[in-house]
Amino acid sequence: MSEFTREGLEPLATLGNDTPRIDAIERVTGQAKYTRDWKLPGMLYARVLRSPHPHARIVSIDTSAAEALPGVRSVITYENAQVVWGAGSVNGGRQYNDPTKDATIHRRYIFNNPVRFVGDSIAAVAATDRHIAEEALTLIAVEYEQLPFVLEPEQALEEGAPQVYAEGNLCPDFRGEFAPMISNIGDVEAGFAEADQIFEERYETGFIHNAQMEPRCSLAHWQGDKLVLYTPSQGISNCRHDTARDLGLQDHQVQIISKYMGGGFGNKNQNQDADLIAATLSRRAGVPVMLEYSRREDWLGVHGRWPTVQYYRVGVKDDGEVTAMEMRAYSGMGPYRKNSGGISGMDAYGCPNRYREIHPVYTNRTTSGNFRAPSEPHGHYGVENMMDEVAYQIGMDPVEFTLMNMRRPTEQQQFTNYSLEEVIRNGAERFNWQARRRVTPGSDEGPIKRGAGFSFMMFRAGVGTSSAIVRVNANEEYTLYVGVTDIGPGAKTTMGMIAAEALEVPLSQVEVVWGDTDRCPYSVGESGSRTTIMTGIAVVEAAEDLKRQIADRGMPTGSDVLIASATPTPTTDGMTRQCFGAHFVEVEVDTRIGATRILKYTTVHESGRIINPSTARDQIRGATIQGIGQALHEDLLYDPQSGQPLTPGYYRARHLTHKDIPDIDVHFIEVDDGYGPFGAKTAGESGIILAPAAVANAVANAIGKRMTSLPITRDKILGAMA
């Protein structure tokens, strides 16, 4: 079930109507060309050799037998191909910042020695077919000197722990200083002094792979000094810039083509080592090279959500007012710093005294990086379970406790609009919260127990500047050029719809050109939930310009065209722009076998005006499904003795199947804050944030025991009940 509440919003001609994706037919009929579908004359296939050890120094490498294998055209290793992969490791995880990349202390190369995790790349082979390339890998002789390794972030900071880098295991921040990330608001100690009761708990979350359907791949084709790169990308402009930078080229010497891709969820931001390896092999071999990662390589060699350990302390008065919140936490980044290691959630509370200290830590696990709402789901799980526990301990309804303590607009910090309270109340009513939650957790008789939980969020809409170009010909056919790709949320269709609305023509009159940096202007990229609002605003402005031109000069005739472009720098007048959401879940736990089943799942979101209801709804559903998987199943288990990963892949990480997925009710409250294109805000990432928190709260309400570690697997439930 899904529903859109649009009180006070003016209906529009195109926006707000369920609209099939403009590339749906190509996709479902197999005509869509994904990166692996490209075939170029003389193309070679490439494979990467990876470290089988969690930490080792390579003593020697001998590629002569591989080179001698008929069909092998190029072999490159850490010895003869030292290319810095700028986005692979950045001080402070500042992914989009060139000066920080330049100053990065712990650089990552396309091939590394020492190797620092199982899956670290050391060499690659290009050959006339895939099988020869794979056989050639087996012929490369590598002698390793194994080094001690460390897997758990807290252990990595203990004295005497194996060192991933000589400077220690605490990751440097963006200034290059080895210090935790600290945010200190008010005076926590004074806040704790004011409290009647103080609660503490430790929460833990696992590594979650993005698990997008299409593993990484890259096809590189040099045309003189120009590199044409076919690669699945969530940001062709950023990928172009990163690739040019890493290869010592100018941006215009690189063309990125990403016409169709099989999902990203943050796996495909920026450039990937695959792009640089394919480009390097292709340059040496003098012909196009297609590099493909297997599922296992994609799982271990790219990245996933960072595992965390979070210690909370919360002070509360007897009437429910929270006076102090403190979190000390550890994020396991693997051996390279691809992202911040952030843990968000405390900011959703208004408590004036808040202290947060996060230690991003190097380990010898696989690398951590972007995954849909990179800092949020694990953080909301930790803080909202902590607060849910506090509410029950002091005898309050968690919803009332939240309404009392959540963040609201202040003099100092205004919002473009604020609907969190409405979202929560609306959700509680639809879900029938009062009837479903157990006032006394775990109070159902018998082994099958039900309970309900909820969680809430606000999520910032990213910033950035994009451009758009729109053209019209004498047939009144409009062409929109935007540098977007479609990682799932339907950006191509959304851009076409926004253009049609702004141009006051039907969508069928608008053709969208996307996914090619030589044909499309700069776009921020499909990350940070910002394409709709940032590129969308550029589309609106370009369309307005074109309409003015048409008004001034009339429709073009003959072979004339009119063209308009825009590169706006939108602001929100110093206010914060947030989307809001609340999720309510009812679960049934079979405490004899530790199984959790979801009986009801209600979501309410406010993401401004909804452009395309069908894709917006599916965004929330898909993200919620990922969040439930994080809550109940997914993890990457390592063997503590050998440092080997044991559970990569869909089968072992136990992703939800269709049979596991409950009905998910989606409700949007639509508003126009006057800032986004036609009032749109952000939706893409937000849906994933709340399920781990809400599901865990519901399990606690059902069984009367707090689940302090994700995923909530059977053994943990049975352990708690024993």
Binding site: I593, G594, H633, Q644, T657, D660
Partner: protein, 328 residues
């Protein structure tokens, strides 16, 4: 993936002799039935076959039929066929249910009875390339490692659990396994087909090199026999059993005359819980009896450091399977 030779066999006997001659030339050989498991193992490098002997080109072994003595099921019958066959559905519910619980429809459409019963362990050490007993080494890495999915009964020196759902049902029905080798045919009871690691830590069954499983024969079950397969999984599909229970009960009204109870997912072979079978004989099926049976099912359990959570699951699974078989 390495280069391979494929041999299309036209009979089981030919497959056996082809295997023998390839081995005599020093090549590693694997039989491929549905190939759903084998090909992935070859790609992962956990099976190093040089020669694949393709059984899909064999005409025999694809039918299910009954004669006076019972039901004969060909080894190349797919799991989908097995789960939908009228003879199996009417007399051998536990077998149909077990087959239907395997993996996904896509896997069941291709995977065969013989391949399912002889599939290699899914232990995450073995499948991740550790040089364990199953790979020809002499260590079981689960003992001091991650053993949440490992054996509770019959373990040592290897602690794998047998992955097949179909096998426990076959044991519970007293199936006879038919085997063909270079030296001819033989029959072996389902129970004797599977071997504990104490006997042979490298292999899960008594097939010798170059021998194949060609089919099974299930003795006639009486009309008073009821059966079920109860599987606890970590998600609703596409995964092996955490704990499975095949229960076959001959009953008079609600009174048990004779019971066979065999567990999946907890031992290196399909694990008969004889104490439960003995307890059930003569009892009236009911909640208290089922619960006690579940508790008795834990006799002799030897959990490892990290798999004791399977104990309550075993009890619950036995209890629920038995209650499922209550009359009316």
């Amino acid at each position: 993936m390495k280069a391979l030779t494929n041999v299309n066999a036209t009979s089981f006997a030919e497959a056996a002799s082809a295997a023998q001659s390839a081995r005599q030339q020093g090549q590693a050989v694997a039989f491929s039935a549905g190939g759903t498991d084998l090909l992935q193992q070859i790609k992962d490098g956990t099976d190093n076959a040089d020669v694949i002997i393709n059984l899909r080109t064999i005409g025999d072994g694809r039918s299910i039929g009954s004669d006076g003595a019972g039901i004969a099921i060909g080894g190349l019958v797919t799991l989908t066929e097995l789960s939908q066959d009228p003879l199996v559905l009417s007399g051998l519910s536990a077998l149909a249910q077990a087959a239907d619980s395997v993996g996904t429809p896509q896997i069941r459409n291709v995977a065969t009875l013989a391949g399912n019963v002889t599939q290699r362990p899914w232990c995450w050490y073995y499948r991740n390339g550790f040089n364990c007993f199953k790979a020809g080494g002499n260590e079981c890495f689960s003992v001091n490692g991650e053993n949440g999915q490992h054996a509770i009964f019959g373990g040592g020196p290897s602690y794998i659990v047998h992955p097949s759902d179909v096998a426990p049902a076959l044991v519970a029905f007293d199936a006879v396994f038919q085997v063909t080798g270079p030296n001819g045919d033989r029959e072996v009871s389902a129970e004797d087909f599977f071997v504990l690691p104490i006997t042979n830590p490298e292999r899960e069954n008594s097939l010798t090199e170059n021998e194949l499983l060609t089919g099974v024969r299930i003795p006639t079950v009486s009309s008073s026999t009821v059966s079920t397969y109860h599987k606890i999984m970590d998600r609703e599909a596409w995964t092996h059993a955490e704990v499975g229970v095949a229960a076959v009960i001959q009953r008079d009204g609600n009174q048990v005359q004779n019971a066979k109870v065999v567990l999946a997912g907890v031992a290196p072979i399909p694990w008969r819980v004889q104490a439960v079978e003995e307890f059930l004989a003569g009892q009236q099926i009911g909640e208290a009896v089922a619960r006690e049976a579940g508790e008795i099912g834990l006799q002799g359990a030897q959990p490892l450091s990290n798999n004791a959570h399977k104990l309550p699951m075993i009890s619950a699974a036995i209890e629920r399977a038995i209650l499922n078989l209550a009359a009316g």
